[in-house]
């Protein structure tokens, strides 16, 4: 069965510094990987996805993520953090081996950008 781990409950970064939010996954076949962001009392907003191809994918609001198959990781990154990036971030995976459309989410990482 597929699973996602976000090892950090919270990440604190000073504004202007680079940020990384970690994610590792487990699937039977090849993964589809996603990052979503959630602001207070809101639904989830899609940031980016990896399906195939280039291991570095770029998404909304200057975020990017790097797919590493050997380490089964998909860490979210941004070169220069903004205070407005403070939110709850979810990594998610879908297993392609059975064309299973179910998406499994991690428990989330709260990102605090300090002014």
């Amino acid at each position: 069965a597929q699973s996602v781990a976000q090892p950090e409950d919270q990440v604190n970064v000073a504004e202007g510094n680079p940020l990384t939010v970690k994610c590792t996954y487990s699937v039977s076949g090849n993964p589809y990987l996603f990052w979503y962001v959630q602001y207070p009392n809101r639904g989830l907003q899609f940031l980016l996805k990896y399906i195939t191809g280039d291991n570095l994918v770029k998404g909304s609001y200057g975020f990017e993520a790097e797919f590493n198959k050997s380490q089964t990781s998909f860490h979210l990154k941004k070169p220069s953090a903004l205070v407005s990036d403070s939110a709850l971030y979810f990594c998610a995976v879908r297993d392609t081996i059975r064309r299973d459309d179910k998406i499994i989410f991690g428990k989330g990482t709260r990102l605090h950008i300090l002014p």
């Binding site: 009392n41 459309d101 179910k102």
Partner: protein, 112 residues
């Protein structure tokens, strides 16, 4: 182009009651998935509807049921509500030919 919409935004029920939540998918999407997000947790998959049928189901009891209409909108029904059903219920829509699910704002259910 409207995104995914859900109604109502908030709901308060008492134990044992029944509730119906509604979702309209993003234009051009034909697949609707429902998730439960408890406080401090990630979304948990409940089930997915495609072509008016339940295509997949997560680890939720039969008290949770759903329906999809010919216009692709969907309902989530929960019977015999328990205190533990209090959560944010999220609807996500997608197209059968692409992988990304887009989420609505959610319905926050409180069971007293």
């Amino acid at each position: 182009d409207a995104g995914v919409t859900q109604s109502p935004t908030h709901l308060i029920k008492t134990r044992g009651q029944q509730v119906t939540l509604r979702c309209s998918p993003k234009s051009g999407h034909d697949t609707v998935s429902w998730y439960q997000q408890a406080l401090g947790q990630g979304p948990q998959f409940i089930f997915q509807y495609y072509e008016e049928e339940e295509r997949q189901r997560g680890n939720f009891p039969d008290r949770f049921s759903g329906h999809q209409f010919p216009n692709y909108s969907s309902e989530l029904n929960v019977n015999a509500l328990l205190l533990g059903d209090s959560a944010l219920y999220l609807c996500a829509s997608s197209s059968s030919i692409q992988e990304t699910q887009y989420f609505g704002p959610g319905t926050r259910l409180l069971v007293l």
